[in-house]
């Protein structure tokens, strides 16, 4: 393999790393189209990248010292250490492992009984009398442990030359995880085995022994009389061998034993952590349980060093096990068999609730703050038994802080307090139902009212509220749970009351939609639509309302064509003539549909069409609500944006002026709304290049914004930034610098280093100092800008505009050591891929990156591609043409390398 091949591999590998899922796949296919071999290489590298080995944290082990000591002197060959044949009454059969201080052998005991044992022999280090004395007293402590699930210490002593050894029960078994997988144990069977492990650990704790290194490789399963019996091995050996319990503090102060990443508790992983107590074992048990349930460790520490591990343990929460095992995670060997079993045992809702019980239990054991954990291994075992007995587990409900974190993380998907979830459903359903009743005449109303009310009440009471009966699901019930239950029960429940079913399904569908569960949402809405359509006809407002629901759902899914169709149906009905608008008779539903349609056109760049719809909506809103109503003003604001895209500046100007005036009259000069309208107006003038007007407005709003909203309010930040930018353009550098520096300082403090707005503030300073020709300051801020962008672009979720901005810096930085065309190329490739090759800016940057790495042919191709996407006469178009001209004129350049040796 030659050197350029490695470089190109690297470039594509890095670009692929920036992409995820489908876009990575597309990217790889694109490579294949050009070079199948390269594609195979990149796939192999990506696969290797995901493997756990070669972690920088790996070489941290007690075994290191002995490995080093055993290393030969540089000149002389290694003397082979003599392997003993016999230790006391034990004949050594096979060396099976080596640890920090000792070597483990399988040995045969000849007297008083003949049996296999495991013997751990201390390596050839002389022990002081004191150490040996300690060793013996510790042996006694170990001997106290007598539990069927702990591999017993059978004997301890020292060899003729004074080397201490331990003899342990030899466990003829398989590793716990392997055993469970091989025997395809169900979740409940796994939990049963695990409870025995907890009991063993509890036993040791009662004897004052902390294991501190519980992990799957220390847990074996042996079949005793045909019954699976877990055995904890290496129990306390590390601790008992080397230190007394009373010495813990002293020893850990000096660095201490760290433990195994993936299982070690946060407090134990902190090298400064002085007091590790039995709850550290509870955490490790939680981690083992997690892996038993999901096939995965709570955290992925691949590639992490000790500092990173400590950081993750202290700051991140593990995903709930059920979320881990359900994800499309082919590597997780989830024991699915159990699921079927549990499903058969009860309704799906009940099953889900059981899965959540296990989530709570596992996460409680894994709490960062040990006071939130189970206080003892026995409590963990007891809660698991409650799970097995279908009783309410103690882990539920969780601590308040935990609940809030979870809520934030899963968005709105889970966990509203039970009564609230029910209330939402009740209100939604009753609302729909009232709407229906209103549409009918008075005589029918009473009848329908009574009938539907009874049905709906019955449904809510018998079918939904039953879900929160005491002892069934606990006090906390998630919205999703209630919803799933409702969805399940509504089917076939109302054969003779289609309207009740329609109303319920509408509520269910729309609630699913707001939770982001689109497929279920669509299914229920379509069924509801069908029922309304059949019972009430296509023109009925309830039917149209369903079209509207579906339209907004499709828009949320990005199915714009479907959305337009549905919204047109919600709007254009025979019963409501289109010119009703002019007479201010358009109903709320049609107006809402109109606005949605306008937004769709706007979003897809059809600004003229959007304008027409906005104008209609505007008239309707004005007639219905008045000009100053926030809903009317919102439509006006969107219209102004459309005008700006159409470069119809004066029309947009008129709207902005009106918006400021309306707000001023209704709310006063210093009201936040007025201030916001002024800043938008000013930003508009800046975009138009009308600097004087912009300045007047900025200055008018700045002082009250600072006073009323405060220095850190987004509106104030925007005003300061824009005024600084304006001064920059006017060459008033001193004033500009002052404002922009202040702005950056506040943004950094309030929004953080990597917030887009902070990055923009930094960029403005780079531009300012470049304009000022302040070389030193410019270089300083440019460096900082590049560093920040590096952090921002690190990872697959980076924004396209940031990647392009960074690529731009890497291609053109005046500080030449910042230039890195290779990196720019990776970024540009990722940006182009993320925008489906449809973004001309991204393509333009890619073309220049190809040029910079010395590939003018590709540069020309890509520049042409970009040219086709841009309108003639636009700025991008001109730049691309210039690029093409220069590419054709200049001879190909040699590749630029930044730091490769």
């Amino acid at each position: 393999m030659d050197v350029p091949a490695l470089e190109s591999e690297r470039r594509f590998f890095e670009a692929a790393l920036l992409l995820e899922g489908d876009s990575r796949e597309r990217f790889l296919r694109e490579i294949r189209a050009r070079d199948t071999e390269l594609e195979a290489r990149i796939r192999a590298l990506l696969a290797a990248h995901d493997r756990p080995e070669l972690s920088p944290a790996a070489l941290q082990s007690p075994a290191l010292a002995s490995a080093i000591l055993e290393a030969p002197a540089l000149e002389t060959p290694a003397p082979r250490p003599s392997e003993p044949q016999r230790v006391g009454p034990y004949r050594l059969l096979e060396r099976v492992g080596e640890g920090g201080m000792g070597v483990v052998y399988v040995a045969e005991q000849t007297e008083p009984v003949r049996r296999r044992v495991a013997l751990k022999l201390i390596k050839g280090v002389t022990y002081s009398r004191e150490q040996l004395g300690r060793f013996h007293s510790e042996r006694q402590a170990l001997a106290l442990m007598n539990h069927p699930n702990i591999a017993r210490i059978l004997d301890a002593g020292s060899t003729e030359d004074g080397r201490p050894f331990f003899v342990m029960e030899y466990v003829r078994g398989a590793l716990l995880l392997d055993y469970c997988d091989r025997h395809e144990l169900s979740i409940d069977q796994r939990v049963e085995l695990f409870i025995q492990v907890c009991e063993a650990v509890q036993h040791a704790h009662q004897k004052g022994v902390i294991h501190r290194d519980l992990k799957p490789s220390n847990l074996l399963v042996e079949e005793v009389d045909g019954k699976a019996t877990p055995k904890v091995i290496d129990f306390g050996v590390a601790k008992m061998l080397y230190q007394r319990l009373s010495d813990v503090t002293l020893h850990t102060r000096l660095g201490g034993f760290i433990g195994t990443p993936g299982y070690v508790s946060p407090e134990q992983a902190q090298t400064t952590g002085l007091d590790v107590d039995t709850r550290t074992d509870v955490y490790s048990l939680g981690a083992v349980l997690y892996e038993l349930l999901t096939g995965r460790k709570p955290f992925d520490f691949r590639g992490a060093d000790l500092g990173e591990i400590q950081h993750i343990l202290a700051n991140r929460d593990p995903k709930p096990p059920s979320a881990r095992s359900r994800q499309n995670d082919p590597q997780a060997h989830e024991p699915e068999a159990h699921d079927r079993q549990r499903r058969q045992a009860g309704a799906d809702g009940r099953f889900r609730s059981l899965r959540e019980d296990l989530d709570w239990i596992t996460l409680k054991a894994l709490e960062k703050d040990r006071s939130e954990r189970y206080a003892a291994a026995s409590e963990l075992a007891a809660d698991l038994r409650r799970y097995l007995e279908h009783e309410t587990v103690l882990a539920r409900p969780p601590s308040t802080t935990y609940q809030l974190r979870l809520l934030a993380r899963r968005h709105a998907l889970l966990l509203a307090v039970g009564t609230l979830a029910i209330l939402a459903l009740v209100t939604g359903t009753v609302g729909t139902w009232l709407g229906m009743v209103r549409a009918r005449d008075a005589a029918e109303r009473a009848e329908v009212n009574a009938a539907i009310a009874e049905e709906v009440n019955g449904f809510l009471n018998d079918d939904l509220l039953a879900a929160v009966a005491p002892g069934q699901m606990g006090i906390d019930v998630s919205m999703r749970e209630v919803l799933d239950r409702a969805a399940q029960r509504v089917e076939g429940r109302f054969p003779n009351q289609p309207l009740v079913e329609a109303a319920l399904r509408r509520t269910i569908g729309r609630t699913y939609g707001s939770l982001g569960v689109f497929t279920d949402a669509e299914q229920h809405l379509l069924r509801s639509l069908e029922l309304f359509n059949r019972e009430r006809g296509a023109e009925a407002s309830s039917t149209r309302a369903l079209h509207f629901e579906l339209g907004t759902l499709y828009r949320a899914q990005g199915r714009l064509g479907d959305a337009e169709l549905a919204l047109e149906r919600a709007r254009a009905t025979e019963g409501v003539p289109r010119d009703a608008l002019q007479r201010g008779r358009l109903d709320e539903l049609s107006l809402a549909a109109l606005e949605e349609l306008a937004i769709i056109r706007h979003q897809s760049g059809r600004f003229e069409e959007a304008e027409a719809l906005y104008l209609q909506a505007l008239d309707g809103r004005t007639a219905l609500l008045g000009r100053e109503h926030p809903d009317t003003m919102r439509v006006l604001g969107r219209l102004a944006i459309a005008y700006r895209y159409l470069e119809r500046w004066p029309e947009a100007e008129r709207i902005h002026r009106e918006a400021v005036a309306v707000n001023q009259v209704h709310f006063g000069e210093e009201h936040p709304r007025t201030l916001n309208a002024i800043s938008r107006f000013a930003a508009f003038y800046l975009g138009w290049g009308r600097n004087e007007e912009a300045e007047g407005l900025l200055q008018r709003a700045l002082a009250p914004s600072r006073r009323v909203l405060g220095e850190e309010h987004p509106n104030t930040l925007i005003l300061v930034n824009n005024l600084g930018w304006l001064y920059l353009k006017q060459g008033r550098y001193g004033e500009s610098e002052q404002l922009l520096l202040e702005n950056l300082r506040v943004k950094r403090r309030v929004l953080g280093e990597l917030h887009p707005s902070t990055v923009e503030g930094l960029q403005n300073l780079v531009i300012l100092y470049r304009e000022m020709a302040a070389e030193h300051q410019h270089a300083k801020y440019l460096r900082r800008f590049a560093e920040t962008l590096e952090k921002v672009c690190d990872g697959p979720e980076a924004r396209t505009e940031d990647r392009l901005e960074y690529a731009e810096v890497l291609l053109t930085a005046e500080v030449t050591e910042l230039r890195d065309p290779d990196r720019a190329l990776s970024l540009a490739l990722a940006a182009v891929e993320a925008t489906d090759r449809q973004d001309r800016e991204a393509l333009a940057v890619l073309a220049r990156a190809y040029e910079a790495v010395g590939n003018p042919e590709r540069a020309v191709d890509v520049a042409r591609e970009a040219l086709q996407l841009s309108t003639e006469g636009s700025e991008v178009h001109t730049r691309l043409q210039q690029l093409l001209v220069s590419l054709k004129r200049e001879p190909p350049r040699r590749p630029l390398h930044d730091e490769s040796i």
């Binding site: 007690p62 290191l64 030969p72 020893h251």
Partner: protein, 186 residues
Amino acid sequence: MSQSELDDLTHLLRSVRSDSDEAREELYERVYRELKAIAGAHLLSERPDHTLQTTALVNEAYLRLAPGDEQWQNRAHFFGSAAHAMRRILVDHARRHRSLKRGGEAERVTLADLVILTEEPDLDLLALDEALDALAKQEPRLAEVVNLRYFGGLHISETAEILGISLATVKRDWAFARAWLLDRMS
């Protein structure tokens, strides 16, 4: 260490900087001896359960050999040597253990034989050694990043400082080199 020995070392590090093979070899030997001395002291100390980490080990060796010498060029040579020494020690160790194992050559020697408290049961050290040599022939810097990070136990920032490259470059070098090595070893 006596004052004259210290002067000696400073002198030695300077000569390494001036690119003398002899000085480099000598530095390597000193570091190697020092690592062994620290490991020995470690096992005899009153805190034998203390987990020895490459990071701590290498840094301790540096402090013992070169107190007060904060010049980064010197640090770079030192840590380079230390990482190579660690690699040699571990690879030798693995090689010896392979010959001890029944069956001999055919068996892979993994870190699991060596290190019970790590999570790298499947890493074949000898294969890694070989792959690293191959990588060094093509991209010496990538191999050096792996040496420093993996065998020298250095953090990203230290590696960047010692090689005089940016943090981001070290991260990218590491990611690519790691994938390349693992792929080659498989």
